[in-house]
Amino acid sequence: MYNQTEIIKDTSELGADGELVINMGPQHPATHGVLHLVVTLNGETIKKIEPHLGYIHRSIEKMCESLTYRQFIYVTSRMDYLSSHINNLGCALLVEKGMQIEVPDRAKYVRVILSELTRIASHELWLGAMAMDLGAFTPFFYAFREREMITDIMEDTCGARLTMNYIVPGGLMYDLHPDFQKKVKAFITQFKSKVTEYEDLVTNNVIFQSRTKGVGILSAEDAISYGCTGPVARASGVSCDIRKIYPYEVYDKVEFDEVLETAGDSFARYMVRVKEMNQSIRIIEQLIDNIPEGDFVGKTKNVLKLPKGEFYTRVETARGEFGVYVVSEGGTTPHRIKFRSPGFSNLSVLNHISVGSKIGDLMASMGTLDLVIPDIDR
């Protein structure tokens, strides 16, 4: 049997000044996926957070070097699995840009609609998961009720519910499902009537507000210097929406607002995502009735070869700026490839915004950063 002093020694192994070092993850309920955080605590107060990556490293970038330009797109569905269409779109845009492939209008419209549906689905999942981190279980099921409709639409469209592959260089893999427009409209009606429930259950909840307001404050300067993008940066007032700054596909033809908040705390990040869902609905509403008839895929060569040189494209995923950088030697496969994933930069601020707060605040900050670990740990 162990006496008390031995137990004390064991529980504070790095033990200067009563510090407590806790390994949160790789298996931990709040580090969705397998993020490994080494948290140094002083009682309940956080002194340092060190994210350790590598637990699910699959070296996707290296893998892509041995795949052709048609194939490497689909590996990116396994990175940020909640934005798979948008990742695929980024890669397809790169190949199209490099080879000057003309994309038919129909494909452009459908790509944008699918991107926005993906964004809503991603934000819905985040909403439920973040509420669960804060201890409220019910919003998860409410959010999944709407997300389920999107997953059904995706299943009808491209046959998969999670790692969707539909976008090919030059357009789409095959034409739309005949019920697509009807189902998307049904989803819009459902979403609009139910979105008030989130307001009642989560946004206006006193406990939720006290848990998130003023927690994990990220200033605009820090957001820029850490390279944050997407809702995390927009909640700090940094305008960084790729859809607005460098419009791709038909984003320059639709009307939507870039959601900006200034507080920079967890509640602002929450509000940005909730409002973004409404903006996405707005975009889909403008496009869904106007999908032009015609080809769904442009004419491409059977074997795609990018000319010699360096190529970069970026798209706005649900988490921020996703960049694809390819060095081509003129062959059928990329010579070097690098993905700029939004989650990696967003994770890097976690230590900065959490030091000095309580363990409970860590869940609020981490939840609102919306981390998808396979995206960070490629």
Binding site: M1, Y2, I7, D10, T11, L20, I22, H28, P29, A30, L41, E44, A131, M132, D133, L134, G135, A136, F137, T138, F140, F141, Y142, R145, L201, V202, N205, I207, F208, S210, R211, K358, I359, G360, D361, L362, M363
Partner: protein
């Protein structure tokens, strides 16, 4: 009319006829112990199923519906699974305390059963300091939780146990003051006296606004005392995996799990006794016919109905609110609930002295 009082009187008469009084008392003790253990088991099964069904209803799901009609035997199957599972003890745990802790928590629940009046004249022990007994025994459960957290030799468990310690010790005060308001109104600490004082109306109706405030304070405080959401910081699964019982598995985990539900039942039973008249039927002023019909409903049904209503309320909280942070939890108690309950007690004392209550 069905009444539990009749059964107990018959049993006692029969025992006294057959045995000498000491022997009869001994046999009664054994019967009571067996009954309370089986009550525990049944309550555990029923409440776990109820929680899952309530949660499912709130979360637009169906809940358990495969094992038995309407999923009735789901909890039986779960219990069997837990019994069959190996109860692991961590290598560096303090084995004695680790194994003792679940039983301490369970024991507290059992002790608290004694003064509860389940029906008219159906009470294990009508001790004259009933309310005092309840508040003193219920504060023992924190020892079991601290023991579990400390002995597990796990950092999550330790953090959970420390949170739980701070939380239970603080919220005990508000719960105590809320109970005291009713003691002041009744003028007695005895549970049977408190119930009898509500013959012509329950305290929540008779005691004006202070009684309602006391009831709200009581519900908040006991939710915190039983470590239920939004005050489930001791478990806080997204923060501390499972808090103080992270290292427990098998039957010892089941004991913690069961103790949680037993504690909910007990605090709700006490709440029903103090504020909703315990087994007293609902009587409204001069409505003779209505009052007579109400009298025909057995007192045990009244008691259980009120208790389960309060249990439903507490379950409703759990599935609606997010969790508080640890400093907010303590702020809520020391900055808001405690001053309010002190002031409320003063108000009730004035009302009781001037005889303003009905």
């Amino acid at each position: 009319m069905f009444s539990l009082e009749g059964i107990t009187t018959n049993v006692q008469d029969w025992l006294l006829m057959k045995f000498n009084p000491t022997m009869a008392l001994a046999i009664e003790c054994v019967i009571v112990i067996l009954l309370s253990i089986s009550l525990f088991a049944i309550l555990g099964l029923v409440l776990v199923l109820m929680e899952r069904k309530v949660a499912a209803h709130i979360q637009i799901r169906l809940g358990p519906n495969r094992v038995g009609p309407g999923g009735m035997f789901q909890t039986v199957a779960d219990t069997l699974k837990l019994i069959m599972k190996e109860g692991l003890t961590p290598d560096k745990a303090d084995k004695f305390l680790f194994n003792l802790a679940p039983f301490v928590v369970m024991m507290v629940g059992m002790l608290l059963l004694a003064p509860i009046a389940f029906a008219k004249n159906f009470q294990i022990w009508d001790i004259n300091i009933g309310v005092l007994y309840i508040s003193s025994v219920s504060s023992l459960s924190v020892i079991g939780i601290l023991m579990a957290g400390w002995a597990s030799n796990n950092k999550y468990s330790l953090l959970g146990a420390m949170r739980s310690g701070a939380q239970i010790v603080s919220y005990e005060l508000s719960a105590g003051f809320a109970v005291l308001t009713i003691v002041v109104l009744t003028g007695s600490l005895q549970i049977s006296e408190i119930v009898n004082a509500q013959q012509n109306g329950w305290w929540i109706f008779k005691g004006h606004i202070p009684a309602v405030i006391a009831f709200v304070l009581y519900i908040i405080a006991v939710t915190a005392e039983t470590n239920r959401a939004p005050f489930d910081l001791a478990e806080a699964e997204s923060e501390l995996t499972a808090g103080f019982h992270t290292e427990y598995s098998g039957m010892r985990f089941a004991l913690f799990f069961l103790a949680e539900y037993i504690n909910i039942f007990i605090v709700c039973a006490i709440g029903a006794t103090l504020f909703f008249g315990g087994w007293m039927p609902l009587h409204i002023g001069n409505w003779e016919a209505f009052n007579h019909i109400m009298d025909y409903i057995p007192s045990s049904v009244w008691f259980m109905g009120k208790t389960f209503f309060l249990i439903f309320l507490i379950m409703w909280f759990r599935w609606t609110f997010p969790r508080l942070r640890v400093d907010q939890l303590l702020n809520l108690e020391w900055k808001y609930l405690l001053p309010i309950s002190l002031f409320n007690l003063l108000l009730v004392a004035v009302i009781a002295i001037l005889g303003w209550h009905f």
